[in-house]
């Protein structure tokens, strides 16, 4: 079932064969993104030099300790120690690990050079209400430069009544990133009391809108959730309220809305393997550049996580494209 050999941690990602003409055709090419030399240099490391390569991205996030609390580590107690995720990222040959400054300063040195770092720049606890969700800065682009990161991550809560502060905060991040040639990955999350009344945060309306907002505001990469159809879609504005697209078509719509922002699919809560892999293929077929899966990987014992990682590598190999 897993046609790919175990990754060799000491080796760089191999040069990939050209992708079949049929796959990944919607995926924007790195050379088409209008990137500055600094951004291109760093993104190329994530897309070609680490992880599955071939222009794809496999990212391991570990910011759930802040967003949800240690609660997420119960299914796999080993995962409470951040070294677990770092080791998984190295052994599983991930394109990058994404986390906040505290976990970078205290744990990254041992893995520096082996695992690229995406410094997550804002976050919040899940304790207060999300009605007016806003995610304050926990780090800066300068921190990312100092720590040798290859990208920064920023959460925009699209549709939150606090969008004014959010956009202004992001503006400074984007400008610093421009100044330092640091790629910006936007976690584009619909959130807040207003979106809840228009079909909810998982609706196609919400996810589609979020992808476009990230593009317009200057994201280089956008992380989106896979939209989930439900009867609440009827509360979305038309024509979303009556679209009834298939999951594949829905996600393709989102990728198109993201335009020249590369798309990463969020894993979300842990789901079954078959569903997970179907979601990955669907995403990559639609033109996604990769995935950012946390709980679906590190909530398992490491051997099992690595087995799944190998399956992901195998899938990604089918979508590999040579660097341009």
């Amino acid at each position: 079932m897993s046609p790919v050999p175990e990754p060799d941690l000491n080796a760089r990602a191999p040069a990939r064969a050209p992708a079949s003409a049929a796959s990944g055709t919607h995926r924007p090419r790195l050379s088409s993104l209008g990137l500055s030399p600094g951004k291109k240099t760093r993104l190329k490391r994530l897309l070609y030099d680490h992880g599955p390569g071939g222009g794809t991205m496999l990212v391991l996030p570990i910011d759930q300790g802040l967003e949800h609390g240690p609660i997420d580590f119960f299914p796999n107690p080993d995962s409470l120690d951040p070294r677990y995720q770092y080791e998984l990222a190295r052994e599983g040959n991930f394109s990058a690990i994404a986390l906040h400054v505290g976990l970078a300063e205290k744990y990254f040195a041992e893995f520096a050079g082996d695992v690229p770092l995406i410094l997550k720049l804002n976050g919040k606890t899940g304790i207060p209400s999300d009605a007016q969700a806003f995610s304050p800065l926990t780090g800066t682009v300068e921190d990312a430069v100092r720590l040798g990161a290859d990208a920064v991550g920023y959460t925009i809560y699209v549709g939150s009544p606090a969008q004014d502060r959010d956009f202004l905060q992001f503006l400074e991040v984007r400008r610093d990133a421009e100044r330092f040639g640091m790629p910006v990955i936007v976690w584009a999350y619909p959130r807040g009391e207003a979106i809840a009344k228009k079909g909810g945060k998982e609706s196609l309306y919400a996810v589609d809108y979020a992808a476009r907002v990230a593009l317009e505001l200057g994201a280089d990469v956008v992380k989106v959730n896979y939209p989930v159809a439900s009867e609440k879609d009827a509360e979305s504005p038309p024509p979303y309220s009556t679209l009834h697209l298939s999951p594949d078509a829905s996600f393709r719509k989102v990728v198109e809305s993201a335009g020249r922002a590369l798309v990463l699919v969020s894993g979300g809560e842990k789901i079954g393997d078959a569903d997970l892999l179907r979601k990955v293929r669907s995403s990559m077929d639609a033109g996604a550049t990769g995935i950012i899966f946390g709980r679906n990987l590190w909530q398992r014992p490491k051997a099992e996580a690595l087995r799944l990682t190998r399956e992901l590598h195998a899938i990604f190999a089918e979508y590999a494209q040579p660097a341009d």
Copy 2:
């Protein structure tokens, strides 16, 4: 019906013949605006060197993906890809295209030099309530300079309870624009719970007030909606509550309130061609400098959009004036 030849994209806007004495007499002349050399240089490009020329302006905005979401692209699926609007702007010989920093950084390079850029500097999603509308910055005047833009756009929500933050934010934009010689186009939009109780955002009271606010705050150009009479006008303060002006007279009133700020008419939602062209003529007769039409153009197939564009060029030619 369309007496104007198809625009030649490789050619600069031709020198126009003097306008007839009867047309456009209310339109302020560029030389009367007290502009700095930088502002004059850039505005001249929009008014004479690109687009219909002769002191008129035909602007294609594409910020609806942020303001309304991808929802606006359903009528013409091609329009979801920002290249569609860029190409339309080039093929239709528009005076400029107006959009946010993300669409500029990712797509403008291919069109640079062909289509002047108006960098829209603030925006918001349409998801939360507009009761206290405020549009946070998404870009800066420095971004505009860096990207080679010829003007910046800024939305002021006139009458919003958040006007204090809005004015302060605009102050910084205006000062930076002064410093860099960058023309400022103000989207002067009445909005918020207070205006809703005084006749609504489309009332003459509201639009007229908005035009004057833009002038007093330092706009070089002001984009206004064409006021719409309704029974809600009775809730406007006197004498607006009982004015009952014709549409033409209403708009002429607005242009006069804008004083030496050049006036662009907003297209608003898509309407029928006859109504649209009547609105354009009415506006230009009243002294408007041009139009800024988005959905009415790119929600059509390109051939149809270009046909309409040619009609607009033809009308504008009637209002052309030589540079002063």
Copy 3:
């Protein structure tokens, strides 16, 4: 009825004869105000070199388009064009014209050197509620310096629940004005839900308090309304609730509270000529330095406005004092 010859616009204000011992005795002398050389130089232009001179001030404000909207220009349609007020200020030999940055940048050049400029630095629309009134910056002291202004104007909404932001904003204006030697004229306006419960914004309690606040915060000149007695005075704190002063005595009280801040009387809404001139004499007798009348002047046809202006000049001549 008008003993003063029409002002000659090309001439500087003539040196005035010493005032009679009886008039204007409460008015502070320029030399007693502890002003820096820059402030003194500029104030002297307004008090002696332009307008009626002799230490008096006749100011034409045109910020109503922002504060009230174009609504104020209906009584005299010519007044919608800012050139109308500029011309009136020049032809009527006013001490200065007071307006926002937009009207300065677009219209002042033609009148520069003829009519001194007071750049109004903050303002707001009258659309939202005044319960928590706050007037955000529309310009800066640096703008005033750049534009050749001789003073800046700043509105403090005394007693508003937003006074904290107001004081802090004014602090920066005052410090910049100190740095550049620019006189500060404070529009001291009682406003907001709290003052409404203590006798209202026109009560002696409110106006008297406002004058003192301007003095304590560092105003060089303070613009106040003429207090209006009403039955609502009973809601003012004692002893104001039972004072029952005559209008003359009320205003004299306010001038005393303003101390060494020169006092300008606000015109307010348009009233009859006899009432207006009585108000002027009462104010000057009480020690006011001058008046700042807008609607009472430019809501009339120009000939009528100039006739009234000549009457004002005649009155002011009675209160003229030689420069010290």
Copy 4:
């Protein structure tokens, strides 16, 4: 009754004889306060070179025009003119006069060198509710340096729900004061809706807490009210709710809580002379450094105020200590 000769305004404060061992024993010595040279130099002027001297302080505040309005000047109409207080401070040989920047810039020059200046840096009107009391800056430490002040005054509203903004604003004042060697006098006032429910702003609980807050936040001198026992004390947290200390013991408690911050007692509203002098002795016995009395002094005719001032000098002489 007044054993002290009228102060000679041209003389410096005389060197005092050592205090009796029994008096003022709780008062911290200047040398024990860990002050920087700049702070020590300036405080020494207030404690030894001006006013009653001998390490005591007699301060005349005149910020009531801002805090309460001109209402406070009715009992003695002369007091409306700030020169009245300046002259009283000079004739009465006060240690300093405390006021806002406007009264300093417009009136201080004439008294500079004769009367030390304490520049009050924040204030507010008494018009809106005090439920969330906050006192915004009206001046800066730099203003104080420029004006030749020997200390700055800052009001902290202890217990106000706005304490977050207050502490942050004070932080900047304290740091600037550190940088310029400028002593900081904190008006430590319990205020706001929360303190109102815990015994009120005059309770021992409230005043005692306020004194400690000033010490912890870095005050050099703290101005407190004399606590007033009432049945509302029962609402204070235990053990305050059942303490029932005598006035003397209550105030001694407050002085102890202030630690090495010198204590000034506030005069508050005008009270009878006997009560006033008893309050002064009680305070000085408890270890206070001096008093800051406004209305109790300048709400009287000057002759009467000077008579009372002489009595205060006489009392202070008993508590004089040589400089250390």
Copy 5:
């Protein structure tokens, strides 16, 4: 009962014998923390050169005067004078004393070099509601450097609706600390209306989450409360709602969540000695680095406090490890 000799205040902390293999095994080693030279130098002073040494920390906090008011000093009136705690820290050979800038500037000089200083950088009064708890800055990292402090303390109210301002404020502190090589100790306190509904601030859910937040945000040391099981745990999210861990196991969980942030246990309100010492052993067994006990120490007479301190030293000696 106390096997340890009285500490000699003139001596540096003695070199400790290696710890038994069984104790303190969970405690992170200084060399594993990825600290900059400045941070390591200063932390080493607290862990090895002062106090019980051997990599442990015994901290005396005295910020209760600000957080709770002088109310906390009633049980031991001597404790109202900050010298009491300074002397206790010196005589009891504490690793450090933790307090705000006012108590440092006014009292620290006499103890400088003897007792290391932890400058507490933010605080608030306990007077207003804690529903939206936020602790504003009272000092800066620069203050800490200037005063010779060896660490800074910062309170994060985890889960407060004001977390956005809190995180942003902490960000600046963390960055300044990075710049100056100053260790950051985070008081990680669950607080606010949201946590109150999820089991309360003492629940394992709350304390565990708080520890992780401190780690992710970049704390070098985290101060936590010992979690207290109660029936309110049922309101915590699963699995916390049904965990029912022993106190020892609960605290071990918290230490693990803190990862490479060293853990200090908070003393909280005064409890019996047996309970206190049991809590200390439990904490140290779980991998805590030390304790930060205030009221449990200085609310006693000094002799008694020193006796207890000796017992604490004795316990800590069992957990001593050589410097690495």
